[in-house]
Symmetry: C2
Subunit: 339 residues, 2 copies
């Protein structure tokens, strides 16, 4: 991978192309070929049919067809730890020699001490703060380059593939299916906007302006007459939990009609989307497939799903069983014909 | 107007339809019929041709064709004072009886004392803070309704028309022209996002998710099991001056290739857009037409244009003369065949 260091865009693009080429042929009749027939698939197809049919009482004009997706655990694998957390850990280790004070400064200290329990306690906020601190003074363009270089080289410890290949094939189909029906698909994630935007267009077909994430404070500067946004070591906005509807309000300005999440960090986004008059659909990806991916919910440090799982029945949210509803998990399996 | 109070959407929609119907017929050959032939029009047409021609060295893929527009003074009339300032003043007067403490609290005090010089000194920040204070505790949905009701009833003191009819016909054509060439058009304004989003889709064809503005802090709440975003009396982000590139970075995540402004509040957005490698276009609307609209620049409290005007020649920014470049100012003139 070393020789491609100067062209990380190309490597990530190539990985994404591979994913694309490996997708199974679609039948015109089935927009969701990696979904088994069942309640979840039926609910999705039924909802899209109702809101796009001009004669239906549930018709929603195309301009209002906003769908929001959590990223970690909803669109790609978040175990054993969030990809962004792995990135943060490696960056802090890499940059530590230049910052001796980190040895005694949490949360950097937790990284350098290999104190994972303390690190995991910090949650989304911790990861974003870690990255904010590690990359303070870098421009957003430099940071983008760093993210792409890292993604081009990093591999998942269990699946031994680039993280961008560990996106969920059934969810790629949902994104495409909704866009084919004039939905606008947004990512609304606790992860950093600047961490996601360099690669979401290629991986998911979601362009940077449709990525709503956590942000650090930035400052506009002219450096040698060249304009730059410089990242400061300060969290500006945490787009998680209560923050998700707030982030949707400030960046999108419309209430979504579809929200897809997988953890309690998505609870308020699901409430905001569905607990109002008019047609709406809330869905939760339930990680219950230890063989093909991971099985976790109420007791997990990463992607804990507890309150949202309790509320799902009375709110009418669809709980998607990865084990039963998905024929394949990753695009590479789709390429080999499923399991 | 009183009888329409419960249907402000309809009134604003009707006003916008009227604007639309009054637009002059377009010739396929001229996408900018309200622009006189000249340097400004030629620069616009030449730029769009270059970046959309796949054989041109300046070709820009459609996904990267981001164009950002200031609102006040660039897309609609900002004199004698910003529309949002007029709104804020009237709202503060209207709500003052419920807030006796405002009599001694700036900037509300300036409104109640009719102290315009002090008010104008507060700038964009002042207006956004005024509105934040006046509407604290309201939900974003309630605020949207208030804005639409106000716009449906308010009339410009000189032109005696609804403000939404005082949009600039030549700029409507630019917006449409760019979109026809696969640009995404964004508004990037010092005005409040929540003040603009209720009507920009109808007035400009710019949907809420493409409006980047100043924001107040909001909080997600379930009120009687109904989700709401509640506005707090605190400015979150001022999308003006240095804040414009920052707002573009956080909401769009791409550097625009076209930026259109009219005041020093747009200086940094123009710098951010144009002072980098690759094709770009910066434009400034110069208000020099006292007869048909207003004439102001370096000494104006509202929409001061001083530093950006100085920098325009060496940065290659096009200074658009309203007097010479625009055949008509408002859609109503276009309807009557121009001047």
């Amino acid at each position: 991978m070393r020789r491609y260091r100067r062209f990380p865009h190309l490597v990530v693009a190539a990985a994404c192309c591979l994913v694309w080429l490996h997708q199974p042929p679609r039948s015109a009749a089935d927009p969701l070929p990696s979904w088994n027939a069942g309640k979840s698939k039926a609910a999705l197809v039924d909802f899209v049919a109702r809101v796009t049919d001009g004669d239906s009482p549930d018709y929603v004009p195309a301009a209002e067809r906003i769908a929001t997706f959590d990223n970690d655990g909803t669109l790609w694998c978040e175990k054993p730890i969030y990809v962004q957390a792995q990135f943060a850990i490696e960056r802090v280790r890499h940059l530590a020699p230049q910052h001796p004070q980190w040895k005694t400064t949490p949360p950097m200290q937790f990284v350098l001490d290999d104190n994972m329990p303390a690190l995991l306690q910090t949650g989304s906020r911790g990861w974003v703060e870690l990255i904010a601190a590690a990359h303070a003074g870098h421009t957003t363009a430099e940071f983008e380059q760093t993210v792409l270089e890292w993604l081009a080289a990093a591999r998942h410890p269990r699946f031994d593939r680039p993280y961008t290949e560990l996106v969920y094939q059934p969810m790629l189909e949902v994104l495409e299916y909704l866009r084919a029906n004039d939905f606008q698909t947004f990512i609304v994630s606790g992860g950093g906007s600047d961490f996601m935007r360099p690669w979401t267009a290629q991986a998911y077909g979601v362009p940077p302006q449709q990525v709503v994430g956590s942000t650090v404070v930035t400052r506009f500067e002219l450096r040698d007459d060249k304009p730059a946004l410089v990242r400061l070591p300060q969290l500006e906005f945490l787009d998680d939990g209560d923050g998700k509807p707030v982030g949707i309000g400030r960046s999108i300005g419309r209430v979504p009609i579809v929200a897809f999440g997988n953890s309690d960090g998505d609870l308020q986004m699901l409430q905001y989307t569905t607990m109002r008059p008019g047609p709406s659909l809330g869905l939760i990806v339930h990680h219950n497939d230890a063989r093909r991916e991971y099985a976790y919910d109420r007791d997990s440090d990463v992607g804990r799903l507890d309150k949202a799982l309790d509320q799902a029945p009375r709110r009418g949210w669809i709980v998607v069983s990865m084990k039963d509803d998905w024929k394949v998990i990753f695009p590479s399996e789709a390429a080999s014909g499923g399991d």
